[in-house]
């Protein structure tokens, strides 16, 4: 089996997996980073969202051999001491219900704010459109993104 060296949360990791293994399963089963969730396997629900080279990507549809060039940031590596403004806003507003989709929501929100620190409501809706929440926490997510944006301003 071929081996690959990835940079995950700024640390180099080498894994031996088939070339077509999605990044999602490398993170979860090989590296034990289970914060990134499996939801649909087709890039449709956003539960598996991670950052690659600073962009929000769906780790369930990216094979391991396609993510070797840049840093991959997962929910576990988004901040030290859970102090990312998005995580803080999520905790302050108590956004999650079941919580399963929330890693993906947080990564999507953090990426949106990294590119657009003051998004309008419409821009938030558009930026978060790829993340499904069956529990219906959308209004709180919207509020939390706005709160995180205000924290970035401070």
């Amino acid at each position: 089996m071929p081996s690959y060296t990835l940079t995950v949360n700024s640390v180099k990791k080498t894994v031996s997996v088939d070339a077509d293994t999605p990044l999602l399963w490398v993170l979860r089963d090989e590296l034990g980073l289970t914060g990134t969730k499996y939801g649909c396997g087709k890039g449709l629900c956003g539960a598996c969202t991670v950052q690659y080279k600073g962009n929000a990507v769906r780790s369930c549809t990216l094979t391991v051999d396609s993510v070797l060039e840049g840093n991959i940031t997962t929910i576990e590596g988004l901040s030290e001491g859970q102090n990312h403004p998005v995580q803080q806003a999520w905790m302050e507003l108590d956004v999650p219900q079941c919580g399963y989709c929330q890693s993906g929501q947080i990564i999507s929100a953090a990426t949106l704010l990294s590119k657009n620190p003051n998004p309008t409501e419409e821009e938030i809706n558009a930026g978060m459109a790829g993340n499904i929440c069956r529990c219906g926490t959308y209004t709180r997510i919207r509020e939390a993104v706005q709160l995180a944006a205000s924290k970035l301003d401070e």
């Binding site: 089996m1 997996v17 088939d18 077509d20 293994t21 999605p22 399963w25 979860r28 089963d29 090989e30 034990g32 980073l33 289970t34 914060g35 990134t36 969730k37 499996y38 939801g39 649909c40 396997g41 087709k42 449709l44 629900c45 539960a47 997962t74 929910i75 576990e76 988004l78 859970q82 995580q87 999520w90 905790m91 108590d94 999650p96 219900q97 079941c98 919580g99 399963y100 989709c101 929330q102 890693s103 947080i106 419409e122 938030i124 809706n125 558009a126 978060m128 459109a129 993340n131 499904i132 929440c133 069956r134 529990c135 219906g136 926490t137 959308y138 209004t139 709180r140 997510i141 919207r142």
Partner: protein
């Protein structure tokens, strides 16, 4: 209630939610060696005063892991910030109702949880009083500190050893709501930090050394049966450890207990065992399988016709009958009759079904997301011919449940697989498995007929035609039962081979929309004020004369009045179109008003105002989350949710062909609670059913079109505003 001191210091207080107190249990040797089965749910207090409270019920996202311990902590009089919360494990001996379902955890736990906290506090006070040589009645407690009349203080940790040796007091006093310090105050979800930082919490994250992964090849259609399979290619793939066939044990169980047969396929299934999830999922695709049609291949088209035939037919079971509807309809001046249709729905929990099992000669370890742990542990014991005491079940946090995780067909699968391969194994469903092998909300049709005489509603007849099963419990006695003299509810069903079951707010999730749309239309026909008509009907209800009527007309009228006021009903500018609904289910009274505006010629739901009477609100922050989520889930499914069948097979199997509500479609939700000191009721379900009705009634106001079918997007022509209105 029982206590024991810990060798390592501290005290354990076990409690039985619904049983009499038990004598003292033997103290465990060491905290880390605690046999939780002996203690079940309990309060743990260490010598340093640290308090850990075990939450007994499964956490599904409804917030009980936070709210249930809050109730204990309130009566224990400890500061909430000093409490650690842990998930209790399954213990059928000492608990009853370790279930997440029916929005009942808080309602059923309310008295027992308070008594548990209060009893523990009294024992700690008694110990302190004995040490001081004073009367316990002169001591007060605040934030885990006991104070006597002289002003001396002792912490819980200082007296916990002595307290553990005392007699368990009976009939302890409970607090008055005015003295609450924790109940009624916002508390964040106890798992929030773990969720926000991606710590392992869910069944899919559960892992033990030596665990292997299983992906299951399931019948592609309902009614299919396995004939043969070729696993040559799959077995040659990397990481694949074995390919096996399962099904025999489940069939054995079904032969013994057929009540489960509408919830699980009896066909053989082919299972790939591999070293990783991906290897198992990939190898599964390489299995060549031959299936045969054992029973009918059903379709939505057929269901549609069958349900209509049932409504037109005479095979009904009468669930409730008051007066004489036949006579009343014959004498009526005017009659309104309408039929409402709903589709099958998958649950689509964001965490696909999965479960861990490790069957050994010694015991059976199970772990994962399950709403009904006791039921499933019992079924596994029966299926494997084991004693129930050999089954150890650990509940993980659930990535949603919505009823799907009541059934636990996946628990049986995991157990059968582990029993066959003699290894710890986790079964993981793909999203396609999850949607195609569901236990769905069944398709239902309602036909409602009302008779009017001399300006009064004199007759009401509700007929339900459903796939597999009909409304249950007290639903036939919900509003308008008791409000109309001649009233009848009839049900009929068609037995399908498609597995069906509970889905968030079973039956009412569709009934509320049908009934409340009907009343809206009835008010229009009778030229009555829509709100006044509802209030007048409620005036006629006398629950004191009929114990089947458990909704309170007074509480219902109150939520209606507050909703009228808070939503600005009837006072909005012309471009805002409103729809009104009031509803009672799961012991909670709710009114919702939808605000709809026209954008690009189509109605858009902008806001839902929601008024809720659920008695005392334990955790407002969590309660609001449940209410908002229920409303948005209700709007989403009534707008978009639909699963069709062709040749026994669902036509959607992932989120590219099944539409879920997304952020831009989620309306603002404004919530108001009715303040009272009545015992609390649940919130996981009651705000979902009214949402679809509020939207339908507001759409009528906006477009002039009544919607009789869910999802509403199924009839796009009815979601257009007539051209003249746009121009005008």
């Amino acid at each position: 209630m029982r206590t024991s001191s810990l060798a390592g210091g501290g005290m354990l207080i076990g409690f039985n939610l619904f049983q009499a107190c038990k004598p003292k249990a033997a103290p465990p040797v060491d905290l880390s060696l605690l046999n939780y089965n002996d203690f079940n749910a309990f309060i743990k207090i260490a010598d340093n005063g640290t308090v850990t409270i075990f939450s007994p019920n499964p956490e599904i996202g409804q917030g009980v892991k936070t709210a249930m311990p809050m109730i204990i902590a309130e009566e224990l009089d400890v500061a909430w910030k000093d409490v650690y919360v842990e998930q209790g494990i399954l213990d059928t001996e000492n608990y009853t109702r370790q279930v997440a379902g029916g929005s009942q955890s808080i309602r059923h736990g309310w008295d027992a949880l308070r008594q548990t906290g209060a009893t523990a506090k009294q024992m700690l006070v008694n110990a302190a009083a004995a040490r001081w040589g004073v009367d316990a009645s002169e001591c007060t407690v605040s934030d885990g500190v006991i104070t006597n009349a002289a002003g001396e203080t002792l912490g819980f940790g200082d007296v916990v050893k002595e307290a553990a040796l005392l007699e368990v007091p009976e009939d302890v006093a409970l607090k008055e709501p005015k003295d609450y310090k924790i109940i009624g105050k916002d508390a964040g979800n106890v798992d929030i930090t773990k969720i926000a930082t991606g710590k392992p919490l869910f069944g899919l994250d559960y892992k033990v050394d030596g665990m292997v992964y299983a992906a299951v090849v399931r019948p592609p259609a309902f009614g299919h049966k396995l004939v043969s399979y070729d696993d040559t290619a799959a077995k040659a793939m990397p990481g694949v450890l074995d390919v096996i066939k399962i099904g025999e044990k489940v069939r054995g169980l079904l032969a013994e207990d057929p009540s489960f047969s509408s919830k699980i396929s009896a066909s053989d299934k082919v299972v790939v065992i591999a070293e990783s999830t991906w290897q198992a999922m990939k190898a599964k695709e390489a299995i060549k399988v031959e299936w045969e049609e054992e029973t009918t291949m059903e379709s939505t088209e057929e269901h549609d016709k069958i349900l209509t035939d049932l409504l037109d037919g005479t095979t009904f079971k009468t669930e409730r009958s008051d007066g004489d509807i036949k006579k009343a309809f014959a004498e009526a001046d005017e009659i309104l009759e309408r039929t409402y249709e709903s589709p099958f729905l998958p649950h689509n929990c964001m965490e696909p079904m999965n479960f861990f099992a490790n069957v050994t000669g010694e015991k059976v370890n199970l772990a994962g997301p399950i709403q009904t742990p006791a039921w499933k542990a019992g079924l596994v014991a029966k299926m494997l011919g084991r004693e129930e005491k050999d089954i150890h079940l650990e509940m993980t946090r659930m990535g949603g449940g919505f009823g799907r995780r009541l059934y636990g067909d996946f628990v049986l699968e995991a157990a059968e697989i582990s029993d066959a391969i003699k290894k710890p194994v986790k079964v993981v469903y793909s999203r396609e498995d999850d949607m195609e092998d569901g236990i769905y909300r069944m398709a239902i049709k309602y036909r409602i007929k009302a008779g009017v005489k001399d300006g009064k509603i004199t007759a009401y007849h509700l007929k339900e035609a459903a796939v597999n099963s009909n409304m249950y419990g007290l639903i036939p006695n919900f509003f308008p039962a008791g409000a109309i003299e001649n009233y009848q509810v009839d049900t009929a069903n068609y037995e399908s081979n498609i597995t069906t079951g509970a889905w968030r707010a079973p039956y009412t999730n569709f009934l509320a929309y049908a009934e409340q749309s009907f009343f809206d239309e009835l008010a229009e026909m009778m030229e009555l004020d829509k709100i006044q008509m509802r209030l007048d009907l409620l005036d006629k209800v006398k629950p004191e004369e009929d114990e089947r009527i458990q909704y309170s007309p007074e509480r219902m009228k109150e939520v209606i009045k507050v909703a009228v006021e808070k939503s600005g009903w009837g006072t909005k500018p012309k471009h805002i179109h409103q729809g009104f609904v009031n509803y009672y289910c799961h012991n909670t009274h709710v009114a919702e008003v939808a605000d709809v505006e026209i954008e690009n010629g189509e109605p858009v739901v902008k806001k839902i105002t929601c008024v809720v009477d659920c008695g005392i609100v334990i955790n407002p922050m969590g309660a609001l989350n449940q209410i908002e989520g229920g409303v948005i889930d209700g709007v989403g499914h009534s707008m978009y949710g639909e699963l069709q069948f062709e040749n026994g097979r669902p036509t959607a199997n992932n989120f590219d062909n099944y539409r879920m509500i997304r952020m831009k479609e989620a309306p603002e939700v404004e919530t108001h609670f009715i303040q009272n000191e009545l015992s609390p009721t649940g919130l996981g379900e009651p705000t979902l059913p009214p949402a679809g009705g509020a939207v339908a009634n507001a759409f009528k106001a906006a477009t002039g079109n009544r919607l009789y079918k869910q999802p509403f997007t199924k009839t796009p022509e009815l979601l257009k505003v007539p051209a003249k209105e746009i121009i005008g």
